[in-house]
């Protein structure tokens, strides 16, 4: 069984590769459709001698034919190298930047994810158990409204209320900058502050996480509400639920078993939701000045720093791939019917 699972994980992991290749290809060619390049983005309006421009472009490898650039990067990528930044600054390993930004996004998305799943399950179960009542209707309206909340708008409202008006919570950044005793190690600030036993820092980090993860989490919870409710309604009408009751199993337990069954399709949704979560993270990060991958991509796009954008996309693809792998494994573990 365990060996089977290991194998299954391996095969699923291999499937991430074509996905990365496809996305790399798409992004590579899209980026190069229009004129302009990272060097120009930096020197901008400056009166730089043309020879020097040429020299800089050569340094960045932009004078080579497209296909050479494509395969060069691909070759590097296969060796786990995401290339170097092409501008502002030039020549830094893209991976070092991503290492700086990715943990922020991971922290945000994990929290937002937790918020969305917990909220989604709570509201969904409530709706299903009270099917057909006012509560059910309320939950369905909640699901639609949450789903259609526009992140920048909603985030701003929260910032305004809890920051500007009430002064309860910080509105931007990851940690109070005046806490100088804190030194990131992994970049996952929660983990870091716990490792260092720096409770002031931990408090500050958690405080800073609340608004962004609530914003993103609430918006994404709508989809779960809907799915959990509908699945649970379906499951509750199945024979085995009645069979449990017919055997005298207490209602609470029956609900629990039903929920486990209803949860299986929800698990499959999770991988997908995570991708949507990452998309939403761009808007959330912009709104809350969160130094994560979303703001990184936006920054780098304005410089058209090809390597950084490609690198970020690859990392995102990898991240999404790994998440869906984890989801699949959870799914396989949860559902004995899955063969691996």
């Amino acid at each position: 069984m365990a060996r089977g699972l290991g194998r299954y994980i391996l095969i699923r992991a291999l499937m991430i590769i074509p996905m990365i290749l496809i996305l790399y290809t798409i992004v590579f060619f899209f980026l190069r459709i229009l004129p302009g390049n990272p060097i120009l983005a930096v020197v901008g309006t400056k009166n730089i001698p043309p020879e020097q421009l040429k020299h800089l472009e050569h340094l960045a490898g932009l004078d080579k034919p497209l296909y050479v650039q494509y395969f060069d990067y691909l070759w590097k990528m296969l060796h786990g190298d995401l290339g170097v930044t092409l501008a502002s600054p030039m020549g830094k390993p893209v991976s070092s930047y991503i290492a700086l930004r990715l943990p922020a996004t991971i922290e945000l998305t994990i929290f937002a994810f937790t918020v969305s799943v917990l909220l989604g399950i709570a509201t969904g179960v409530l709706g299903a158990v009270k099917k057909g009542t006012k509560t059910d209707t309320t939950m369905r309206v909640y699901s639609i409204v949450a789903y259609t909340l526009f992140i920048p708008w909603f985030g701003m409202m929260l910032q305004y209320l809890f920051g500007v008006k009430l002064h309860w919570l910080p509105t931007s950044g990851r940690i109070d900058p005046s806490i100088t005793s804190f030194h990131p190690i992994t970049g996952l600030y929660i983990l870091d502050s716990i490792i260092q036993g720096n409770w002031t820092a931990l408090g500050s980090v958690l405080e800073h996480l609340i608004l962004p993860s609530l914003t993103l989490g609430i918006v994404l919870s709508g989809a779960y509400t809907r799915l959990v409710r509908n699945n649970l309604v379906d499951v509750l009408s199945q024979d085995f639920v009645r069979a449990y009751k017919a055997r005298g199993v207490p209602d609470r337990k029956v609900l629990l078993y039903a929920l486990k069954n209803a949860f299986i399709p929800v698990v499959t949704l999770m991988g997908l939701q995570f991708a949507i979560l990452l998309g939403g993270a761009v808007l959330t990060e912009t709104t809350f000045n969160w130094p994560g991958m979303g703001t990184f991509i936006m920054d780098r796009i304005s410089y058209r720093d090809y390597n950084s954008i490609q690198g970020a996309v690859i990392v995102f693809a990898f991240f999404v791939g790994v998440i869906s792998l984890i989801v699949d494994v959870i799914y396989a573990l949860l559902d004995p019917r899955v063969e691996y």
Partner: protein, 282 residues
């Protein structure tokens, strides 16, 4: 035709989803009417700059004026055109590409199917907003470019749905019956499979339109959709948002609410149709 019939049914029959449908449909209808009759509804020229900046809502300016003294209400009214246009073009494009490809891939199977599925799945599982951003940046800000960027990320949605449905329909006896009757492949796809896929396309359509609206708004919020002075909700929200802190709430409030209402309208229609469809099968 069938769609209209279905709509009429949804409106008339007292079944769950009717309330949702009516609510959603009214919102969408109002916005569509707003777009069509914009010149008559809007009291002012939406791009006209005046010295009356930051006027709060009043009779003259029902939603106030913005930082350039433009009438917010008029901009909302005209802005409906842009968002509807972008979303309409985007969804048309993605349906026009996604549905036939999905049919073909699902029905034919084999190598084409494997390659197409892999490409589509890759795009699908990637955060769509990020991809749309990259494409939109590259193409430059204009409604048609935004539509292309959005359609690109929604093609896989239709593709996957249609492919999946086609696969399951292919296993249904009536498709086999068609084969037994000697119906040619393309005709089987057209007459037997496509009509059965369409209702789900409709549901996916309404839901993904809701999504596309938010994506459009997201792109224009990031400044990637239109160039001023074209009125556009997402862009106006972006412009208006900082002024919220100055107490000029109407600049950001109305565009934000409109974006969400319109998305909600479509989501509600989708939900209602979905519910009705699943009632039919239960």
């Amino acid at each position: 035709m069938m769609v209209i019939e279905g709509f009429v049914k949804l409106l008339r029959e007292r079944k769950p989803g009717r309330g949702l449908f009516i609510f959603g449909f009214s919102i969408v209808l109002i916005v569509i009417l707003m777009a069509i009759f914009a010149p008559w509804i809007a009291p002012h020229n939406p791009t006209e700059i005046s010295a009356d900046v930051f006027q709060p809502p009043s009779w003259k300016h029902p939603m106030g004026t913005n930082n350039l003294g433009q009438d917010v209400f008029s901009r909302i009214v005209w802005g409906s055109r842009v968002i509807l246009y972008v979303v309409a073009v985007a969804t048309t494009l993605s349906i026009a590409i996604g549905v036939p490809l999905g049919l073909l891939s699902g029905y034919r199977g084999g190598k084409i199917d494997r390659v197409l599925s892999m490409v589509m799945d890759s795009i699908y599982s990637f955060p769509s907003l990020i991809l749309a951003i990259v494409i939109a940046v590259v193409l430059g800000p204009s409604p048609i470019n935004t539509a292309v960027a959005i359609s690109f990320v929604y093609v896989p949605t239709y593709f996957r749905m249609v492919r999946g449905q086609t696969l399951s329909l292919k296993g249904q006896l009536f498709v086999e019956a068609a084969r037994a009757l000697g119906v040619k492949d393309w005709e089987t796809m057209k007459k037997y499979i496509l009509p059965n896929v369409l209702p789900t396309v409709l549901v996916v359509f309404t839901l993904s339109v809701a999504d596309a609206i938010l994506t459009e708004a997201g792109l224009s919020f990031l400044g990637l959709s239109v160039t001023p002075p074209t009125p556009d909700w997402g862009y106006d929200l972006r412009v208006g948002q900082p002024f919220l802190l100055d107490g000029y709430w109407w600049l950001a409030f109305f565009p934000g609410v409109m974006i969400m209402l319109l998305a909600m309208g479509f989501a509600m229609i989708g939900e209602a149709i979905n519910e009705r469809l699943s009632l039919g099968t239960r």
